[in-house]
């Protein structure tokens, strides 16, 4: 009986230490992208004038692969986010002022300034994942029988 008590005491102490250790863990780069993305405001984070093209593109490239993996990559008029990113990088490399994007079928999908294309790369990449996280609670609000009022 005494043994049992000791074991449970040890367990309680162990769990609480573990819990505290978790609490004190500083937020670092290993923070889940599903958490970090929710701290961003698209208008600020993807603002090219404020942050510069490179920083904005870096953000786009951080979240776009996760969007693709989740099956939620944005696409406008046949041009997916990843194509905006690719074409913007290409334009910077070529020293070109304009970005030519292509549709998934290989047709011309529009010409943009580097700043605009970088903004769209970032805004689409970030918003897609934010939307996915938000949907975890908002889907119910659209459904008769759960949250949808009429």
């Amino acid at each position: 009986m005494k043994n049992l008590f000791n074991i449970s005491l040890a367990l309680v102490v162990g769990f609480s230490l573990f819990g505290c250790a978790k609490l004190y863990k500083p937020s670092n780069q290993s923070e889940s992208p599903y958490v970090s993305v929710m701290k961003l405001h698209v208008r600020d984070a993807c603002n090219v004038q404020k942050n510069g093209v490179n920083k904005v593109l870096t953000l786009a490239q951080k979240y776009n692969p996760i969007d693709i993996k989740e099956g939620i990559e944005f696409m406008r008029f046949g041009v997916p986010t990843s194509e905006y990113i690719r074409a913007t990088k290409q334009a910077i490399k070529d020293g070109s002022k304009t970005v030519q994007v292509y549709t998934r079928k290989g047709k011309k999908g529009g010409k943009f300034t580097v700043a605009f294309a970088a903004w769209r790369s970032c805004a689409f990449a970030v918003a897609a994942l934010q939307q996915k996280v938000e949907a975890k609670s908002t889907w119910k609000l659209a459904m008769p029988g759960t949250g949808f009022k009429y």
């Binding site: 944005f74 889907w139 659209a142 949808f148 009429y150």
Partner: protein, 303 residues
């Protein structure tokens, strides 16, 4: 005394196992009842229309809506509740443009594979489209009608077909016409925990906002059922897949459900999911369950 205790515990055990077997579709049943209640309330009565259609011109509600139509007519898509669309629909059905699609499908159904079998070997009874999608516990995956067709091809050492292609649409037109002739209603089953999970995934995808336009399927086909995008009235989720494959005037030919879903998914502003993806299977499973009790009425005609 002892025998009483034994019978008692056997009974308890039995009822426990029955109880745990029954509820796999319990949530889905509830969801379906709530959705039907909403749709019936919405299209019931012009007097309550203002509540559901605050922005639709009164004139349109009074003159172009069919109110309180029979439950089975939810299977007609937007022709169910829009007078002008119904008139067009009736016109087309006098000389259905999908006639030769059904004939082509019948020929494909009987055509021998290289090994001497045919689709008739896999589907001896062609009137089966009301039972798809099915959940397959062995592969832990939803099997859509198109996937079942491809599984049959693969089993007989033939190459699978494109799910959005013409051959698939023809064969399914034939199977659906046989199911329609037999008067069969959608009868989708959820019989395991894994199946219930697939249903739930499909449901969440249907109700989740997606794409750069931030729209869910429900924005247009539940809340938005009865409203329009430009001149196109949105069909209600209830009965929405009963007409597939459909002959679309825009396409000029019949097309599968997958072809349509890829289109709607793309319109939301995201890279559309693949026709044979798990996502597509889950979504179709949910949509088909919502249509349980509605008669298959296919192929059909749509704008």
């Amino acid at each position: 005394m002892l025998s009483k205790v034994i019978t008692g515990s056997v009974l308890t055990l039995l009822s426990c196992s029955l109880l745990s077997a029954a509820p796999y579709n319990a949530q889905a049943k509830k969801d379906r009842a709530a959705m039907i209640k909403y749709m019936e309330a919405k299209f019931k009565n012009p007097k309550t229309a203002a509540k559901f259609f605050p922005y639709t011109p009164k004139n349109e509600l009074e003159h172009n809506f069919i109110w309180g139509f029979p439950f089975q007519e939810f299977g007609l898509g937007d022709a169910g509740y829009v007078k002008s669309v119904r008139a067009q629909f009736d016109n087309f059905m006098m000389l259905p443009p999908f006639y030769n699609a059904v004939d082509n499908g019948e020929a494909l159904y009987h055509k021998k594979f290289a090994n001497g079998n045919s689709f008739a070997t896999c589907f001896p009874n062609p009137a089966i489209t009301n039972l798809y999608p099915k959940f397959d516990d062995k592969t832990n995956r939803v099997v859509t009608l198109s996937e079942a067709v491809n599984n049959c091809l693969i089993k007989n050492s033939e190459s699978p077909w494109k799910m959005t292609g013409m051959k698939m649409a023809y064969l399914e037109s034939y199977l659906a016409s046989k199911t329609t002739a037999a008067g069969k209603k959608f009868d989708i089953k959820i019989q395991s925990a894994a199946a219930a999970k697939a249903y739930r995934r499909g449901k969440i995808e249907f109700y989740s906002q997606r794409g750069y336009l931030d729209l869910s399927c429900a924005t247009c086909h539940v809340l938005g059922a009865g409203k329009r995008t430009k001149a196109d009235y949105h069909s209600p989720l209830l009965g929405m897949i009963a007409g597939f494959p459909v002959y679309r005037l825009k396409w000029g030919h019949v097309g599968t459900l997958e072809k349509r879903l890829v289109g709607c998914n793309k319109n939301q502003g995201e890279v559309p999911h693949k026709p044979n993806s798990k996502w597509m299977g889950d979504l179709e499973y949910f949509m088909a369950y919502m249509s349980n009790g509605i008669k298959v009425n296919a192929p059909s005609v749509r704008k």
